[in-house]
Each structure stands twice: as C-alpha cells, then as structure tokens.
C-alpha cells in the first residue's frame, strides 16, 4: 500500500514536470488585462474587457505597435485580493506582458500593485480610487482615473452649500476607509459635523449602524455611502425602512444607482437618492473621445461609461509611449510613461508629480465631478437630473 502511494505521488510529480512549457516569446506585444470577470463588480469588468479589445483592434488595424501585433491577455481577479494577486502574478511571470491595465477594486489593486512594483512591470489604473495606490510614489504605478482625495475635494463644495451635518458609511477596505477618512478631515475643516461608521463589505443587515445614525443629534442631513459591494443597494433601502430617509438625503459616492439591481431593490423608494459621477452630458469630449464613443456604441450597442474613456486613454498612451521609446520592455515603458503628453478623450493627459508625500504621483488630475439626483421612476429606469455643479 505504501509503495502504491509512492508510485502515485511520483506519477503526479512527473506529470507536472513534463507539462508543456509556456509559449516562447513571440513577435507580438502583450498587454495584460486583469479585472473582475466572475465575481465582484464583474459588470464593470466586462466593459473593461470590451474597451481594451476595441482599443487593441484599432491599434492592430493601424499596424500594431512597433510593427508588431498587439495581443491582449485577460485574467479574472474575482474582485478578491488573493485571487487578484495570483492573476497578476500569472500575467507577469508567464505571459511576459509589457504593462497591465484594468485593475478595478481598490483593495485588490493595492495588493496587485505591490506585485507589479516588485516585478518591475508598469500598471495603469483607470478607476481604482484609493489614494494609497499612487501615494507610494512608485515608478511603476500610473493613474489616469480619479482618486479619493480628489473626489472628496470636488464633492465638498456641494456638501458645504447644502448641508451642515453629514454622515459617512464606508466599507472597511482600502477604497472605503481612504475615502471616508479624507472626506471627514476636509469636511470637518470646512466646519461641517461629520459622523462616520465603517462596516465589513459583505454585511447585509446595516440597520444597527443606521439606527446609531438615527439616534445622533444633531440629525445627519446627508449620508455619504462609500461602498462597492452589496451594501450599496441595501443601505438606502434599510435607511428608508427604519424611517431615517427621506429626511436624510443619500449621496452615493459613485454611480451605481444607474445599475438595474438598484431599481429592482429600491423601486420607487430610490427617488430622491443622489450620486456622484464623472458622467455627464456636459462632459466635454475631445475629437478622440467622440470617435471612441461612436466606435464603442457601434460595436456594443451602448454608450461607454466614463471609466471606459480613461481605460481607452491608457491603452493609447501605452501604444504612444512604446512607439516613442522604441521598446516594449516593461522597465523602459515604465520610464517612458513619465513624459506622456497625450491628447486623450477628455483632455490633455500628463502625469503630475508632487514631491511631498501624497497621492499625486504619476497621476492625472484633470477630472470633472457631477452630482445627479434620481427624480422619478419611468418604467424600468429612473429619470435623473444633474443638480451640481
């Protein structure tokens, strides 16, 4: 019996050893796309995949980069840090990509960034908001998208104008905690009363936290929700159920109320909810942006969300950089990105660096924030209205 076990183990070990090796370096340039595809915010992940595919099609139609075909390699990070780390390791180690884009959930991206920095492969972030990502001042982390401190800064005037007492409920992860801490700091400095309550992201019964808010005096007039997961829909619902809303207005820190699940869960109680977004009809697109929007709509039968614009910019910036430095080696690309001057979809993209410790490092800061309100239900959708700026 012992011997047979031995044989089995031996067999397995050998079977692993004689696995076919990875594909040898080919004459393509590989671009890594690591994004949630099965769990987590996989709907956004799907848009990320579509966007990158569209951008790469365009590049290849124009003859690729440096005369080589561009290939996208995708991996699913499941919206979980551990799976995300494995996915990006797989990408960097076995696929030998020149750069990685598409990272999504902040807490996942923080861990993934560590791997990328260690492996000296550049990553570009288009919609992961935590300040920590660029606050580490790494040469391998670039961000076209917005970040928490910037968003809090942009939203503060709106809060200051309309409210005196605000409450923040946040997920206790890199994204939520970072946003809440920064907003609390600047809101207090601006003279507002701030209550902030954290909760684990998988919580589904948030009434205890909401009841604590209900008992506060003075009563909070606005609840800011910094969340990604389920609770995004559950907090407004439960706030209504315990009679805290509609007196207390709700401001979602990003535009998930436009997702279908929000309507299914809140129904007509969703009317009155406000949300921050970078999406607006007033958002000025450059000619490149208009072109991308048209191509995206033609291919996928819907308007691209704003983060798709940033991601598209990133792919184009990478292509432009590689052409400029005549290299697709990850290290060279990382160095070359610094000098980017790219006329992007929403404006001229350059990467700023501010020496004192802070999130502005290889960071573009030219974003515009809008605040929308859901005003009525129309069939399966809400009517929205822009209330700020």
């Amino acid at each position: 019996m012992k011997k047979s076990a031995l044989f089995t183990v031996l067999f397995f070990v050998l079977s692993v050893l004689f696995l076919p090796g990875g594909a040898m370096a080919a004459d393509t340039i590989k671009l890594g796309l690591v994004t949630p595809m099965s769990t987590g915010d996989f709907r956004s992940g799907k848009i990320n995949v579509q966007t990158v595919e569209l951008a790469v099609e365009e590049l290849n139609a124009k003859g690729g980069i440096l005369g080589k075909k561009v290939e996208v390699v995708t991996a699913d990070d499941e919206g979980k840090p551990a799976a995300g780390v494995i996915a990006i390791k797989r990408m960097i180690a076995s696929e030998k990509v020149s750069a990685v884009v598409g990272l999504w959930h902040s807490s996942v991206a923080v861990a993934q960034a560590k791997v990328a920095i260690q492996s000296q492969v550049p990553i570009m972030l288009h919609y992961s908001w935590t300040d920590d990502l660029t606050a580490g001042h790494s040469d391998y982390v670039y961000r076209v998208g917005p970040f928490n401190a910037e968003i809090a800064q942009l939203a503060l005037p709106y809060m200051k104008k309309n409210f005196k007492n605000i409450a923040i409920m946040y997920e206790t992860n890199a994204f939520g905690t970072g946003f809440a801490k920064y907003l609390e700091k600047i809101a207090k400095a601006a003279g507002l009363t701030v209550y902030s309550i954290g909760y684990p992201q998988e919580a589904t019964d948030l009434k205890p936290q909401l009841l604590q808010l209900k008992a506060k005096s003075p009563k909070p007039e606005l609840l800011v929700i910094a969340a990604v997961y389920e609770a995004t829909n559950l907090i407004p619902k439960q706030s209504y159920e315990i009679g805290l809303s509609p007196e207390m207005q709700i401001l979602c820190s990003w535009d998930w109320p436009t997702y279908p699940a929000f309507q299914e869960i809140l129904g007509d109680k969703g009317v009155g909810v406000t949300y921050a977004t970078f999406e607006s009809d007033k958002l000025k697109l450059s000619p490149l942006g208009e072109k991308f929007k048209k191509a995206y709509k033609a291919k996928y039968k819907m308007d691209p969300p704003v983060f798709a614009l940033f991601l598209y910019d990133e792919v184009m910036i990478l292509a432009e950089t590689m052409e400029r430095i005549k290299s697709s080696d990850p290290k060279d690309v990382a160095a070359g990105l610094k000098d980017t001057k790219f006329q992007g979809t929403t404006g001229l993209i350059t990467f700023e660096r501010k020496e004192e410790p802070g999130p502005i490092w290889n960071q573009w800061t030219g974003h515009q924030l809008f605040i929308n309100k859901l005003t009525a239900v129309e069939g399966k959708e809400y009517k929205r209205e822009e209330i700020y700026p």
């Binding site: 019996m1 012992k2 011997k3 047979s4 076990a5 031995l6 044989f7 089995t8 183990v9 031996l10 397995f12 070990v13 050998l14 692993v16 050893l17 696995l19 090796g21 990875g22 099965s38 979980k80 840090p81 551990a82 780390v85 494995i86 390791k89 797989r90 180690a93 076995s94 902040s106 807490s107 923080v110 861990a111 560590k114 791997v115 260690q118 492996s119 000296q120 997920e171 206790t172 992860n173 890199a174 994204f175 905690t177 954290g198 684990p200 992201q201 998988e202």
Partner: protein
C-alpha cells in the same frame, strides 16, 4: 518514518528544486499555493485525522499566524523568516488556549465551539480595520526584495511543506502518534490504559494549529497580503475537501488532496472553467457517500491490480 515516506520527501524536494527551471514560471505561484494548502491541511489532519477532534475553526489559525507575522513586520520590522516562527508560535499559543477550553466538550459541541472561535477571529479582524486593514487585507513584505522574491518565497514554501510532511510522518509512526490514535479511536479505553488523554488532546490540537499558523505566515509573505478571506467558511470547506478526498488520517492524505485540489484543478482549468468548486463539492459528496477513505482508499483498492499488471508487464 518509513522508507517510502523518506523517498517521497526526497522526491518532493528534488522535483521542487528542478521545477522552476523546467516549468513556466507561473507554476512557482501555483506550487506555492499547493504548499500553503498542504501545510494547512497537514495541520488539520493531525487535529482531526490523528486526534479525532473535529475542529471547524482551523482556518482561524492561518489568519492568526498571517496577521501576527505581517503586523510584526510592519511595526517592529521583524524579518519574514522569523515571522514564520512568530506566526506559528502565536497560532500555537492560541491553540493551547482553545485546546484547553474544548476539553470540556465533545462531538459536535466541539465543532460548534471551534467554529464560533473562528468567526469571532474573523469579526475582530474586520472590526479592528484600523489595525488590520479590514476586508481589504494587510500588506506584508516579501522574504527578500528584488526580482528574486518570487523564487525565494517558493523555496521557503517547498521547504516548509516538506518539513511539515516529514514531521507529520514521524508523528504518525511514533509513540506519540499512538497516543493520539488512542484518543481518537476510544478515549475511554485510552484513559483506562493510563494514556493522559487530556494532555494528548491539547497536544494534537496545538500541533495542528501551529502548522496552520506557519502556513498563514508563509502565505502572507509570499503573496504580500493577508486578508480575512483566508479565515472564511469557504476556506474551511477547502480544508475539509482536501483532507477528505486525500484520505483522512493518513500521512499522504493532505498532500494528495492538495495536489488534487490545487494542481490538478489548475491543469484542468480550461476544461472545468468556473465550475471547479462545484465539481469538487460533488466529488466530496460522492467520496463521503461511497468511499469514506478518500483517495488513499482508492489507491489501496486499485494498486494491487496495477502492481500485478506491472509485474506481468516486466515478466515476473
């Protein structure tokens, strides 16, 4: 330790040393995951397979080990290699405490108490997010910095896994192992024969927990991250699955099970798609229903036939 086990250990080391140079480099990551689960489940096998204590809170201990090591590295700059030791120690100490506490209970009361413990650990990690980083996890440094970090981490994992295997094999054949089995098989008889059952219960539990702590610390520094999901219910499911399909209470069980759940799953990744956990759950149900000895039992049943065939082939 039997000769075969020594051979297996040697093969594991040799194969592990060669692997990074012949396999695509992504395999170092996968084999490292394999090492994590193997160490973790060797621990659980000692607790449940050897000593018969159905601990349902085993995954709390890698969390304890991982956070201990990561926090020490962050705040007092403890080198990760010592962190492995610290993680094992912390988990082991907690194991002694819980082990003493569960002396009072048997059967599924024990299962529920250990489960409660694991969940409380999880709640604490999430609640104290200022210290632990909440659900997003806590970053931990690599064993060494620079481009070789990956490889060094891999070898450390390989070494730890082999060590855990060797220790559990020695324990299996030793007098101490006999005491553990006596506690598992008939505690009253063991007691009447003068075995200090209370001591051996705590011993078995602590030994398993300490290995789990080491596994957690290894994981934290290898992936540079420790997050509450390593202490979750799904992970406990994986631990059960690995040991059950590998063969509960056997020396090779955890290794075979981890091989199956991590490496075979990776090989069949394209084929199984997102269904791997579903497939494994089905296998586990069938295994528990029909072959309670798990994979090891199948080998035992099949191997004489294979051996005969093999002997016939070589003309003996």
């Amino acid at each position: 330790m039997k000769r075969n086990e020594i051979i297996v250990a040697v093969i594991m080391i040799v194969a592990g040393l060669i692997a990074p140079w012949v396999l695509p480099s992504v395999w170092t990551t996968i084999v490292s995951i394999f090492c994590y689960y193997a160490i973790l489940t060797i621990g659980w096998n000692i607790i449940f397979g050897y000593t018969g204590l159905f601990s349902y809170g085993h995954v709390a201990f890698p969390a304890i080990g991982g956070y201990t090591s990561a926090l020490l590295a962050e705040h007092i700059g403890l080198p990760p290699l010592l962190g492995l030791l610290a993680g094992g120690l912390a988990a082991g100490l907690m194991g002694v405490l819980i082990g003493l506490l569960i002396l009072r209970v048997r059967g599924f009361y024990l299962c529920l108490v250990t489960w409660a413990f694991a969940e409380v650990v999880n709640v604490v990690i999430k609640a104290e997010h200022e210290i632990t980083g909440g659900t997003g996890g806590f970053l931990a440094p690599s064993y060494v910095s620079g481009p070789n970090a990956e490889l060094v981490g891999y070898f450390i994992g390989l070494g730890l896994m082999t060590l855990a295997f060797v220790v559990s094999a020695i324990l299996y054949h030793s007098r101490w192992g006999l005491y553990l089995f006596a506690v598992r098989d008939d505690i009253d008889a063991a007691e009447s024969m003068g075995v200090k059952t209370r001591f051996w219960k705590v011993f078995g539990f602590t030994a398993g927990c300490a290995w789990a702590g080491v596994a957690g610390a290894f994981y934290a520094h290898y992936f540079n991250l420790v997050d509450p999901s390593i202490g979750g219910l799904d992970e406990m499911g994986k631990v059960c699955l690995i040991v059950i399909i590998g063969g509960l209470g056997t020396v090779y069980g955890p290794i075979l099970g981890s091989f199956f759940v991590v490496i075979v799953a990776e090989l069949l990744r394209g084929w199984m798609g997102g269904y791997s956990l579903l497939i494994f759950a089905t296998i586990m149900i069938l295994a528990v229903r029909f072959v309670r000895g798990g994979f090891m039992e199948i080998i035992q049943v099949v191997s004489p036939h294979l051996k005969n065939k093999y002997l016939a082939l070589i003309g003996k």
